[in-house]
């Protein structure tokens, strides 16, 4: 599964990131590299630092924001860990 390690790192570090709710975390491997105010800034830094290596950009939310799609679609589901 893509970004499995990064998601695990994010979940593990979420309690200490909770004070930065709304910011965007750049996560690579087992490290939360830096926090950014915008998705775009986190993405740019991710590519600048890690080039084509996988990295995760995740908005910090204690209660994760769900995306709603009312039309019938089949999301490409990421298997649960």
């Amino acid at each position: 599964m893509a970004l499995e390690k990064e998601l695990e790192t994010y979940k593990k570090k979420l309690p200490e990131l909770a004070g930065s709710e709304g910011k965007f975390a750049l996560v690579h491997g087992d490290e939360v590299v830096e926090l950014f105010n915008t998705y775009e800034d986190a993405l740019k830094e991710g590519y600048a630092k890690f080039k084509l290596d996988p990295f995760l950009v995740k908005q910090i939310t204690v209660l994760e924001q769900i995306q709603y799609i009312t039309r019938f679609v089949a999301p490409s589901i990421v298997p649960a860990t």
């Binding site: 950009v57 924001q65 679609v73 490409s76």
Partner: protein
């Protein structure tokens, strides 16, 4: 304010848009001596019921994208339990009505991967994340919709 007006089709407010590699990734591909896949022309349905923009996986693969995020998604096919879906960074360009109109573009935007094409005749749902950058007027009585940006 630049704008364009299109007919509402039987499938709804559908329009052509280009999807490509994000600006942030283009620089890395160039520096690595790799070619940048050209943007793909797709058909998107303006969908105020979609909180995020969705793109069919066929086009994600065509652009050689790898995920940079995952988000929980609730849709009729997932039932009451949200499922995690991959998120990809892309650029989106919507051509203006004429050559004199500027292109509407978002250089680094996250889209969800969702199976849409089969039987639906569309490649993407243009969600409220993109509409947040526009003014949408849906004139059902005239059978027209307008996007201003």
């Amino acid at each position: 304010m630049p704008h364009f007006t299109l007919p509402i089709t039987p499938a709804g407010p559908v329009m052509a848009l280009y999807i490509g590699v994000s600006q942030a990734k283009r620089g890395v591909l160039t520096a690595a001596g790799l070619s940048i896949p050209p943007p793909i022309l797709i058909k998107g349905l303006v969908d105020t019921g979609a909180s995020g923009t969705c793109v069919d996986p066929a086009h994600i693969q065509q652009l050689g994208l790898t995920p940079t995020g995952t988000v929980p998604v609730l849709t009729p096919s997932t039932g009451a339990t949200p499922h995690s879906a991959n998120q990809y960074d892309v650029s989106i360009f919507i051509p203006g009505a004429t050559q004199n109109h500027p292109v509407f573009s978002l250089q680094n935007v996250a889209v969800l991967e969702s199976h849409l094409t089969a039987g639906q005749g569309i490649d993407a749902l243009i969600g409220r994340d993109i509409l947040a950058h526009c003014l949408l007027n849906y004139d059902g009585a005239s059978g027209l919709f307008t996007i201003a940006y």
